[in-house]
């Protein structure tokens, strides 16, 4: 099979799985998950073969695997759908295929496959546990998810969207995948739709990202009208780029390239949850944990960053746009990290951490560090998927404890209810530790160190000192909150009976953790810079490979001891302080960092509600609907109606009835009647009288004739 055909086939198994499950197998849970996991495996297999061939291909950057077919006819040409594997998409495909497969596998265990049906479980709510009888006494165990098959259908559809986006060779198919994921995000965040909070979170996520999407769509429309094509290959032609960079637009003095870049970037702000559209992501944690891992850590939010990396040759043309990107990215990185410090829900910490880490990638792009952004994108996907799945495993273990103790007031997601889990759940602990250290950038060993270090080096080396300092501060906070999380969750002693009875999860959940932790360490080593520590190592494979996507291979920035020193200090310092401060904390009340403004996420939800949501309602309800439509337009109509009836009755009363009816109509009748009454005596019936009358008339006529004739 040619590589091109194979690439076409990669996204297909999940969509087939979606339809198979929805149409045929939704009543059979085992069959449904077999189909879904099998499809993910096939996509993975295809992805790995393509990846292997991509590595083996000489000059892949210049001659990527590509093929396309016509899809929507437009004025003069066709909008095409097509596939493309160049070094960038090959690298992205690699991590997407791995994380998707692992998350699918994990979901089987997470949704309690093999467990009994719940006692009171209903579709739309998380399972509440089942009572079983064993050795003569009853106890409660976790129960299987009632909408098990539906979950696998949705997540398969999601995987289809992500694979489509990655292998796409143009912005249109990318947008298709992008929107499918947005939809799946809605469906999966609101998966437990019986919960009010889940329904609201789903809508919030969809709407917030949709705002970004609309700008992105305008950007796509703009590109199409400016270049007549949406394919990357056509847009990145040097003369096209040159034209776009030199055409001015009326907005902010940006060039066409700058404006397009900005519009597309707003799409990324929505999708990758950057400030100021970050508000949806923490709420999205309402969904099941595999969803959080897949959509809100490893793949969908990565799609936003991927798109900016993809469009980098265009976006980087305008320095203004680049500045905006750098500012938003670095600000988000720091701002989200400060919120993460004050969260107590194990998943919410990770959610804010994700926002912050995506900020790193965006900031890296803003300073022009193409390869570093891609590198961090990939390492982050691995270790953040690991962390989310780990947190899901922790929650699962805690839920087991909660069911065992029967105390349902214990929130299994609150870290202050945990403690000491390292002994109860050793695999989860060690893998979570690896993930956490990778996130913190623990030196030399972890992938996170290498990718973050490269961003620091690039920011410092290219002279963006402010970005460098902000990111370094954020890195300190990252290490700090990560260690806080690890300390509160795993170290010390159990703080609740539920934590005491927590239990390690099953192999379908732990195997993905182990696989992902291998990548969370090992993937960093493919990108060790050539002159690290001033040594002359092999050239960084990752840099050479992904860098060749661009027309001009980006220069590697020279090694700097200042950067390395900073990197070490913030990572190790943050970890140390995190442990120091939280090792003896027993409850949320003792936590000094529970500052209201951080706890309440800087009140963004409230501010947006006040600034946008309420005014929109007012505008729609009071202004447009009541005032304009019912008041003005219908008012004019009813006025016409009144005027018409007014004219009608005026005409009726004053013209019709008075003049025509009474005067003319009735008047004629009256006159006729009067005349008849008065002429009646003539009709006497006497012949003589008639004869006399005839004679008189005859004489009169004769006289008249005589008079006329004689005179003339």
């Amino acid at each position: 099979m040619t590589t091109e055909t194979l690439i076409w086939l990669i996204p297909l198994p999940p969509i087939l799985a979606f339809f198979l499950i929805v149409l045929f197998t939704n009543r059979n849970k085992a069959l449904s998950h077999t189909i879904a996991v099998g499809a993910a495996f096939l996509s993975w297999l295809g992805g790995m073969i393509v990846f292997a061939r991509a590595i083996g291909a000489p000059e892949l950057g210049r001659e990527p695997f590509a093929s396309s077919i016509n899809w929507i006819p437009t004025a003069d040409t066709w909008l095409k759908i097509g596939v493309l594997i160049d070094p960038l998409s090959a690298a992205v495909l690699f991590f997407v295929a791995w994380t998707v497969l692992m998350i699918f596998l994990y979901s089987v265990g997470y949704h309690n496959f093999g467990q009994p049906k719940g006692d009171h479980d209903i579709a739309g709510l998380p399972p509440h546990g089942a009572t079983i009888e064993e050795h003569g006494h009853k106890h409660t165990v976790p129960s299987i998810e009632p909408m098990y098959s539906r979950f696998f259908a949705f997540i398969s559809l999601f995987a289809f969207g992500m694979f489509t986006l990655v292998v796409s060779d143009n912005l249109l198919t990318l947008f298709v995948g992008w929107e499918i994921m947005g939809l799946c995000s809605y469906l999966l965040i609101g998966f437990w739709y019986g919960k009010e909070s889940a329904r609201n979170a789903a809508i919030k996520a969809f709407m917030t990202t949709r705002i970004g999407d609309v700008f992105m769509l305008l950007g796509i429309v703009f590109i199409y009208s400016a270049t007549g094509s949406l394919s990357y290959h056509d847009i990145f032609q040097p003369q096209v780029l040159h034209t776009l960079a030199s055409v001015p637009t009326p907005i902010f003095g940006l060039s066409a390239a700058g404006l397009i870049g900005l519009l597309l970037f707003i799409g990324t702000i929505g999708k990758s949850a950057q400030f100021p559209l970050h508000v949806w992501l923490p709420d999205a944690m309402e969904g099941p944990t595999p969803v959080s891992a897949m959509i809100h850590a490893a793949t969908m939010v990565s799609a936003g960053v991927y798109m900016v990396i993809r469009m980098f040759p265009l976006i980087s043309l305008d320095p203004h746009t680049m500045t905006v990107i750098a500012v938003i990215g670095s600000f988000t990185a720091l701002f989200a990290a400060t919120i993460a410090v004050a969260q107590n829900d194990i998943k919410r910490v990770l959610a804010y951490s994700t926002i912050s880490q995506l900020g790193y990638m965006i900031a890296a792009l803003g300073v022009g560090a193409y390869v570093a952004a891609a590198f961090h994108l990939i390492t982050h996907a691995f270790f953040k998927a690991l962390l989310f799945l780990g947190s899901g495993s922790v929650i699962h273990g805690m839920e087991h404890g909660v069911l065992h103790t029967g105390d349902h007031n214990v929130d299994p997601q609150n870290m202050f209810n945990m403690g000491g889990l390292r002994k109860k759940m050793p695999i989860t602990f060690w893998t979570f530790l690896i993930g956490g250290f990778a996130l913190s950038g623990f030196p030399l060993l972890t992938a996170g160190f290498w990718s973050k270090d490269e961003i620091f080096t690039e920011a410092f080396g290219s002279g963006h000192i402010v970005v460098f300092v902000v990111l370094a501060l954020a890195a300190f906070l990252t290490a700090f909150y990560t260690m806080r999380q690890i300390t509160l969750t795993f170290l010390g002693k159990p703080r609740t009976p539920a934590a005491e009875h927590a239990q390690e999860t099953r192999w379908t959940m732990t195997v993905p953790l182990i696989v992902l932790s291998v990548f969370a360490i090992g993937y960093g080593w493919v990108g060790i810079p050539e002159d690290f520590l001033g040594l002359h190592l092999n050239p960084s494979w990752f840099h050479e490979f992904v860098g060749s996507t661009l027309a001009v291979m980006p220069e590697a920035v020279p090694f700097s001891w200042i950067v390395l020193g900073t990197s070490l200090v913030v990572a190790l310092g943050g970890l140390f302080f995190g442990w120091l401060v939280y090792r003896n904390v027993q409850s949320a009340a003792e936590d000094k960092l529970q500052i209201p403004v951080l706890k309440n996420k800087y009140y963004f939800d409230e501010i947006y509600d006040f600034l946008f949501v309420k005014p929109s309602y007012w505008f729609a309800e009071t202004f447009v609907s009541q005032w304009m439509d019912k008041g003005l337009i219908d008012g004019i109509l009813h006025l016409f109606g009144k005027v018409t009836t007014g004219i009608g009755s005026a005409v009726r009363n004053y013209v019709d009835l008075l003049i025509i009816n009474r005067t003319v109509g009735d008047g004629t009748a009256h006159i006729t009647q009067w005349a008849g009454r008065n002429l009646r005596p003539i009709q006497s019936g006497r012949i003589q009288q008639y004869m006399l009358a005839s004679l008189i008339i005859l004489l009169a006529i004769a006289g008249l004739l005589f008079y006329v004739l004689v005179r003339v």
């Binding site: 016509n70 939809l183 739709y193 789903a202 969809f206 709407m207 705002i211 609309v214 729609a620 609907s625």
Partner: protein, 504 residues
Amino acid sequence: MTFPVLSVIVFTPLTAALIILMIPAQRKTEARGVALAAATFALLLSLWVYIQYLTQHLTGYQFVEKYDWLPMLGISLHFGVDGISAPLVLLTGVVMFTGVLISWGDNNPHVMAGIQDRPREFFAFLFILASGVFGVFASLDLFMLFFFYEIAVFPMYLLIVIWGWIQTREYAAMKLTLYLFIGSVVALVGALAMYWVAGRNTGVYTFDMLQLEKAGFSASFQNLWFLPVFFGFAVLGGIWPFHNWSPDGHVAAPTAVSMFHAGVLMKLGAFAALRVGIMLLPEGAKHWSWVIMLCAGVAVVYGAFIAFVQTDLKYMIGFSSVSHMGLVMLGLSTLDKNGLTGAGVQMFSHGVMTALFFAVTGMIYDRSHTRQIPELGGMNKVMPFAAIGFIIGGLVSMGMPGFSGFIAEFPIFLGVWQSQWLVAVIASISIIITAAYIMMNIRKVFFGKMPEKLEGHMTDVTVLDKVAITTLCVLMIGIGIFPSVMVPMVQTGVQHILTLLGGA
């Protein structure tokens, strides 16, 4: 002689209406059976026409038939379809077919869905209306176009007044009828002006639109008459600020009539505005396109905002129709290949989508006796099939890729961006608002908690309802995934318009 397929399509419903009226009133099933048979027949024929047009890569006016009717006045029965009207003929067939299916209903005394009161007369009036609609789409004679146009509008009044929602039906029916008749009278005056002037110019007095296209009206004549003609018809297309009859009418009408009304009748207005306004008076169109763009741009955002705050499901859909028909008008106003193509596809896509919306709403209303969104909830559990249908309609409505809405809206935005980027930006607000109200309503109506008073009183939709929903969904998804089944065809029609516009 070839088979006169268009005449058969146009007169099938009328004939069926007469047959139905001859069936005794108490034999409801027979009346329905004849209606379904006739609707199926018309659907198959219109599908045949569509497929022929598509697979043989036809262009221009096809399946043309011409019979002299009043030769001394230049009036003839002249039928033919082009790339724009063929999809609309199919749309009418589809809406007619599904409308009959969902009106069949469920005569279970606990449910009483569909039309149970005098179905014989109902179908007869509905079919007279359908003949009128087919006639407008197929007519190439201006006089006959008006003739069928009035036939399409008139039964609407009766259908709403007799079978409509008791609270507003008289008001709504009167409002609708007056709006539409006033609009058509204004347009008729314009048409007569064209008839006389063309006759004076060429010496041949005719209503044949193919002749009128070549009549060579002067620019000042066109500039004078374009707006009356365009707006006269566009009233039926729900153009702002003459849209207000439409949501009221939708709400008051019984389900199948709402489907016809929003699904097909509004297209009639847009189509006639295009055919008579833009195609016969191209210079006027160029001169005044900014006015249409303005009104359409307002309609798109305005309708979306109002739909956003409606608590009545039907009003919500009604105003969303105003917004989506605004997109059609916006596409027309660009006078550009992408914009016009998008408008053509959007007419079809919106017709199918809104028919689906009204169908599902009707199913819910018949069973719950309320359309108030706050009083509904949990429908997903009792009618999952209808829920999926409504969600698919919602996705089309918000322009999701992979559905017909995206295929239609994307070219419209391309066209609008090229002619006035600011209008595109403003119109794009509606994409967000639309997503908001669709999502919020789906959340509440289908996934929210079912109110206690509905608990136990709701039943699933019937098999016929499912057939109707499936038919409509298949079309929307089919076009979304394989746009080449419709877009190139619409483009052939658009090409002709562009020629009339002077190759612009």
